[in-house]
Symmetry: C2
Subunit: 208 residues, 2 copies
Amino acid sequence: MSASASEKKDSTTEEKIKTAAKTVFYKKGFAATRTRDIAEEAGLNLALLNYYFRSKAKLFEIIMAETFSGFIGSMKVILDDEKTSLEQKVITIAERYIDFISIEPEIPTFILTEIRNNPEELLKKLPIKEIVNDSVFIKQFQEAVQNKEITEPNPLHFLMNLLGLVVFPFIVKPIIMGSRNLETEQFDALMQERKKKIPIWINMMFKA
Amino acid sequence: MSASASEKKDSTTEEKIKTAAKTVFYKKGFAATRTRDIAEEAGLNLALLNYYFRSKAKLFEIIMAETFSGFIGSMKVILDDEKTSLEQKVITIAERYIDFISIEPEIPTFILTEIRNNPEELLKKLPIKEIVNDSVFIKQFQEAVQNKEITEPNPLHFLMNLLGLVVFPFIVKPIIMGSRNLETEQFDALMQERKKKIPIWINMMFKA
DNA sequence: AAAATTTTTAATCATTTGATTAAAAATTTT
DNA sequence: AAAATTTTTAATCAAATGATTAAAAATTTT
């Protein structure tokens, strides 16, 4: 029973390759994966990768773009919601991202290591500055600061702390599990706990 | 003006190789570095790597071992100090680790990606379970829980939050800097701020 | 069902890359 | 300073790896 997340319509070979590429790239990163690994994971002839995607780099680009847009797209939606309060946004981010990452736990480390290896190229495709700076979230944050509801004036600290509390455990998951003999279910339970706790912690940290 | 941290006694060729290997391995990881990259960084003939260290893997092992022991050795000392309170330990960890990582900012991502690529092999060399479970810190934490000074009973949440607040910003540094046009000095200033703030945040989160 | 097109396969290529070797250069020992 | 030892170099090797090719197989179109 291997099979990672995306296990839906692997009908076409093109989709089989993409699914396999995701699995292997997520686990080992671009540099450490061999095109033969992907072909084997997909159960397909090696030449098909080049037939459908031209090159390893092109295939990687596609996986990367989809991963990015999945990851920050949902963030943008949450941060830009006019109808939710700042507090509700924190709740939603904790809830949704823990669910999202739990399904594909390798994604955070994958994104971070690939950005490390190629920051200029990858970051220019990510309009993070705009997403954050032009967001409803930032407006609400600045209002809360002005109304003295929040003690910390720098939204960067706020976001780093929030995302750190959500994402960091997934990044150190191998260390935690190896060092405390946790099973996957126990780790997942721990993260479910954090869904509730993170918004409370954030409130305690920042609420005046 | 290249030159990363360890730039002291590069007198012998052996040390030159190790310094260069650190620089390249930290930046690109094991899989993405070529032995030729290291030789070039060191300004030495490629064959010298094999002459002094037998193989790329052996050289990597040495760098890895030194990096690990530097990273968790200092942690052990702090966690095992009988003379400091829990609160003081938090202050010391924030202070020392931010200083430590600021000097060699690639280390956290390096450690995490290499553990991802080879968890069994690398983690069995790291007695993290023992360091944490048998520490004075754990004793103090459990006492504080019993005395109702701390609301959160699970030391894992406490440690993850503390280390997340310290380490996570370094891991996402490329994203932060790329997305907000920060300069290195500004990022460093941000981390200096966090030295003071993290202990306060931790108190707010966990103190009854 | 014949022809045309698309997909898949096995074999092979060219480059990259970790490693070795034998000779040259430098250093140390006698 | 001659001999022995250690260190460095240029050349080369062998295996790994991304990619291509030409033929075979499968599918679609006519």
